[in-house]
């Protein structure tokens, strides 16, 4: 039974020569092949029709019937009148590469498997052609490319196929790593991802009966480029392109958070709020997650917190001398005060006033996207903000997870979260978490049915390093247990080698962009969720916007070309006007 047409695979390129289930050698026609191209090998063995996927890692010219190419070249050189009769036929390309796996049609659908078999002897090799092979490749690789969050298109060498590569939102709580050196296209990728989150949420809101889960994202924007874009367009253009109803459904009344509202461009200001976190919303753990304290300082802070609860920061900063009865060494109090003093200077961490945390919480529990301009924050402020938000959201969900009904939940909430904050949001929380009502006896929802919350951790090595992760870091828990609460981290880093192993081992999706040096390439390969050993050369020739997507739930490492945000926005902008979503087949767009 043929379920695909070989003509649609692309052009016949060559035949399989020698190899094993990992590495193959192909004899092919003398074409302009580049490292990184993907070939398909059709094979029929014992009645099993399979299509193997093969990635080019090395090339060599080969002249058939010539054992000693140098001798022939020498003769051509020395005997000026020599020719090579009919040589075009004999000019072949010896292509070495990695077998990526194979697609097989069983039980009425295509499945993809790791390379644990060999294609048949002298099997035919096809080279995919954009415009011809797209549909078949899409079909065969469906299990490897499908999902809700669009990342880019399948890259074959220097071109791409119309095969969108997506990440399933159910795997987002198992954390995503985005690794790439400066100039590798991280910012554009983040904007593409934010756009696909918005698209997913539009699809979810226009198909309320569908099984699409909304995704929330707390996107740190360290250079303030997401809203207005790097080049022509930014997230703000999507916001503007939407009709008011859709906008309010998908984005609420704001999407932009900034430190200084007055410094925000007027058009963005309409959808902007100022970041203000109250001291009483900060817990000692938040600080332990972003900076190192001595054991004495920890002990001091813990004992102050035990007594003063959420007022601990104000109380510590008020102290003139070490409180009586504390057995901390002299100087500890002053040291802690010095450490906390930045909160006094910070415009965003305030002792009194209105906190933004409630709004953030609401946005995150209703499946919304927040772009957080941290360009005017210090690193410490940015990290503390990320940590407070992460911890607050995870503690809320933890409270849900450990409760049977809303009555339990409230008790748990007061236990885990700062009282003033919880007091303010508990009513809203009940409406989010209650199943059929908001009474104490109403059952709580499974957190996994709540929106997926994505929190970006920018400059991740500063807080996800082994030293901080050794202690009581908030991120240690999230990295291990995020999936229980449907909260995932998007770890953005220029380096992989310096990240803590706990977070690396819990990460199930990696978007590997161009890396700066051999050590980081090595680290990327070692850390990848599928075996990509042998891809060193690939990393070396990667250009801006090219990525290798690896995921533990997929067998195939996917080369992806990330489109320019401007291009996909221009392509899709018209679609944001219409209230209803487009066809299902285009769900990656809208």
């Amino acid at each position: 039974m043929m379920v695909f047409n070989k003509d649609n695979l692309g052009e016949l390129f060559g035949k399989v020569g020698v190899g094993n289930q990992t590495n193959l050698e192909i004899m092919g026609s003398n074409r302009d092949i580049s490292v990184g191209e993907i070939f398909m090998i059709t094979s029929e063995r014992d009645g099993h029709e399979r299509v193997f996927f093969f990635r080019v890692l090395g090339l060599q010219n080969y002249l058939r019937q010539v054992d000693d190419m140098s001798r022939v070249a020498g003769t051509l050189m020395v005997e000026g009148d020599a020719y090579l009769s009919g040589i075009e036929r004999n000019m072949l390309l010896d292509v070495q590469g990695r077998m990526l796996g194979y697609a097989e049609y069983t039980g009425g659908k295509w499945v993809f498997r790791s390379p644990r078999r060999l294609p048949d002897h002298l099997a035919s090799v096809y080279r995919p052609v954009a415009g011809t092979s797209d549909a078949d490749v899409r079909m065969m690789l469906e299990s490897q490319t499908s999902g809700e969050m669009y990342v880019g298109d399948l890259q074959v060498g220097e071109t791409t196929l119309d095969v969108p590569v997506m990440i399933p939102s159910k795997f987002l709580p198992m954390h995503v790593g985005i690794f790439g050196s400066t100039g590798s296209g991280k910012s554009n990728l983040m904007m593409v991802l934010i756009k696909s989150l918005i698209d997913t949420n539009i699809a979810a809101s226009t198909n309320p009966d569908g099984d699409i889960l909304r995704i929330s994202a707390f996107c740190i924007d360290p250079h303030d480029e997401f809203a207005k874009g790097v080049d022509k367009y930014g997230i703000h253009h999507i916001v503007e392109a939407m009709g008011p109803t859709l906008r309010s459904e998908v984005l609420g009344n704001f999407y932009y958070l900034t430190t200084h509202l007055r410094a925000t461009p007027r058009d963005v200001k309409k959808y902007a709020k100022e970041i203000r976190i109250k001291w009483d919303e900060i817990q000692p753990r938040d600080l332990y997650s972003i900076t190192e304290f001595t054991p004495q300082m920890n002990a001091f802070i813990d004992s102050m917190y035990a007594v003063e609860h959420e007022n601990w920061i104000a109380k510590i900063l008020e102290l003139d001398e070490e409180p009586e009865g504390m057995s901390t060494p002299k100087g500890t109090m002053r040291a802690v005060q010095r450490r906390l003093r930045f909160l006094k200077r910070s415009p965003i961490f305030i002792e009194d006033g209105t906190s933004i945390l409630d709004d953030i919480y609401e946005a995150m529990e209703t499946g919304r996207i927040l772009v957080v301009n941290t360009s005017l924050m210090s690193d410490t402020e940015q990290f503390l903000l990320t940590t407070v938000v992460t911890r607050t959201l995870s503690d809320m969900r933890r409270a849900v997870k450990s409760s049977g009904n809303l009555g339990d939940f409230e008790k748990q909430g007061y236990m885990r979260l700062p009282t003033p904050f919880f007091g303010r949001v508990k009513k809203m929380a009940r409406s989010f978490y209650g199943r059929g009502g908001i009474s104490d006896s109403a059952e709580v929802k499974d957190p996994r049915s709540l929106p997926v919350i994505q929190i970006t951790v920018e400059e991740a090595p500063s807080i996800l390093n082994p030293e901080l992760m050794k202690g009581r870091s908030v991120f240690k828990d999230i990295s291990r247990q995020g999936r229980k609460f449907n909260i995932g981290l998007v770890v953005v880093s220029q380096q992989v080698s310096v990240l803590d192993n706990v977070i690396l081992s819990q990460m199930n999706t990696e978007i590997n962009l161009r890396m700066g040096n051999e050590r980081e390439i090595r680290a990327c390969i070692d850390n990848a969720s599928v075996n990509i050993s042998g891809f060193e050369n690939e990393f070396r020739v990667m250009s801006r916007g090219e990525a290798l997507l690896t995921a533990s739930y997929r067998e195939l490492p996917l080369p992806v070309k990330i489109p320019l945000f401007d291009d996909i926005f221009e392509r899709d902008r018209g679609k944001y006007r219409s209230k209803r979503s487009s066809k299902k087949s285009e769900k990656h767009i809208l």
């Binding site: 003769t75 005997e79 009769s85």
Partner: protein, 430 residues
Amino acid sequence: MLEKILTDKFRKLLKTVLLDIKNQQDLRDEEEFAKDEARIKEKLLDTVESYSANIVLDEDFLIAAVDGSGTENFGMLDDIRIHLLSTATVILDTNTQKGPPFSIMSGAALGAELGEQPSLDMHWHSGVRHDAKNKMADSLTYIYPIKDPTEYVTQFFRDDLGPQIKSFSDLDSTDFARHKSKLEHMNSLISRAGYLTNPVVHDELRTVSEYAAIRNVLTSKFKPKFILIDGAMSVFVHHVLKYPSMPSGFMLREICALAREKEVILCAVSKNHTIPFAHRIAKMAEEIFGAEAKWFCLLPSKNHPNGGLHIYSDRTYLPPKLAVPYLFSFSRDNRPSRIDFDRIWWLKNIFVRGDPAATRANEKKLFRDLEFMSRDARWYGYPVALALAHVACKLSYEDLGLAREVYRDVLRATNHDPRRAAPLREDYNL
């Protein structure tokens, strides 16, 4: 064995043999060569005036080449032996006008006219008395397109005795009249039956297969200027009967005549030959024309106006009956090769009686073409068509290994015991 070979004693033995050869052979030959030296230098040896690399010929032409390969030892079935034969024909176009030069005719075009290329065939015979001969006669009849020997045996006598032999019945007026009945049947044309060893049987089958392939080219729609074949144009003549001892000898004359009729130049090229003093002739050419010169040298027969050469006067098959051999070298890197032409054709097209200069001019024209077709960088100095035919028909060790595996598979599939195919001594790992 190795410990015997790697001894000084073995080396000494070799030295003795070489000395022996020198004493018995070289000394006498050296004297003979001295007698020929001046004639070779002045009359027989000449340079090839080659075409420039980017020549555009007024008329491009086709070159065909045929080569065969095979093994007499492909497979066994008890005492029955199976021969495997492969034959390949390639046709090239000089293609200087359209370029690139020497394009290869596609397999489809070739196959449509000449059948699949290369072609594989098999032959078998047992150890039963006369079986080898009878089977061989059957196979030869099957392989060669002309089934009635009387249609082709006459040509040998016509070429040998003269144009008065027009038909088979004209033999009545000759000494061969008494052998006529033997000449009518393939079986009795095999007159060397006593020596029908497996290699002899195999060689004859292969030669006839190649001749059949040449004949196919000659009768095809292709009109090549040259047809090249690997080997020499030797005909082994029975010393009593005075005619070819094997059917292939007659067939060769028949295809030569056909080639003449179709105005095709038929020639046989051999890399390995036994022309004495070839190295001395080469050295002489180098001295006269320089190390990089491309040259040829006629090896005249005793019928030549100036007679044959002393160096091969004792060598029975030099020059071969009804053939004209030359020695040539188109590449300084290789030893000189030999090329044979049909003598009847040569007399008509190359040789000009009483005019050595005109003869030489004809020869130079002929070798200019031959040299032009021998410049492929893979086999520089050797005709590329022949090299390609050789590559096409070659049965490598691996090919044969696989073919034998397939044979064992087929045996199993047809309920034969595969052990019947194994050489008996394999049981004892010998």
